[in-house]
Assembly symmetry: C2
Homo-oligomer: 115 residues x 2
DNA sequence: GCATATATATATCATATGCCATATATGACA
DNA sequence: TGTCATATATGGCATATGATATATATATGC
């Protein structure tokens, strides 16, 4: 191991590399879900509160089937929750990491970002 | 367009939906790059300053060829820059959006995140 | 030429995406 | 009740994109 320029950094990290990687994979998984314009916009929209699928369609301009599939995925990943009210299904965020992350994104990218 | 619950939101957004989508795609592209444990760790490591590929190998535990490929990708995307010094190649972040984003991730996920 | 450090190529495989069709659920109304 | 319209969900299929493993290539210093 010839290159130890940042040995302290490595050492002050979560005990071992496996642990670090495990954590990185979790965060990366979340980012992966957001790494698609439609899902990112969905997440962004929902930070403002509950919205129906129809609302989200207006907001994102996405095709209905895509929207539904993306919401399904986000549901399975525990990011959003659905609630049916008559003909509409309303979605809301249930992972506050996600809320905070989207807020951070808006912060970082400002008007050029997601908001 | 029956569902206008959040018409104000839509309207206070970047002029039109195309514009909004375009912005979302840019951010999504950045997130996509970070949505992989190795690249996320690379970005995280580099927020602490320049590191050689060897350093990054120690830090992330990733295989050399993977590391090189990921760095190549990040280079092409304008996220990092390389500088050769004798046998080593040192990388550093050159996109401050990335720095801010990683900082936000650390903030959001704390010790459970990337740091 | 040899060792070390880094980069790239190739093959294979899995997954995501888009497009389109269709299915289900709810409500309205004859 | 039966049918119709609306809202949402899901499935098939072609293609694109990304991951992984492995091999090989380039650059530097001795």
């Amino acid at each position: 191991m010839p290159y130890m320029t940042s040995i302290e950094n490595v050492m002050t990290r979560p005990t071992d590399i496996n642990e670090l990687n495990h954590r990185a994979e979790e965060v990366a998984a979340l980012l992966k879900t957001l790494s698609h314009a439609n899902r990112l916009l969905i997440a962004c929209a929902l930070t403002e509160g509950e919205m129906s699928v129809g609302d989200l369609a207006s907001y994102t301009g996405a095709e209905q089937s895509h929207l539904s599939r993306d919401l399904s995925r986000m549901r399975h990943e525990g990011l959003v929750k659905a609630r049916r009210q008559s003909k509409n299904v309303f979605y809301r965020l249930i992972d506050n990491r996600l809320e905070r992350l989207v807020a951070a994104l808006c912060d970082t990218f400002g008007a050029a970002g997601v908001k």
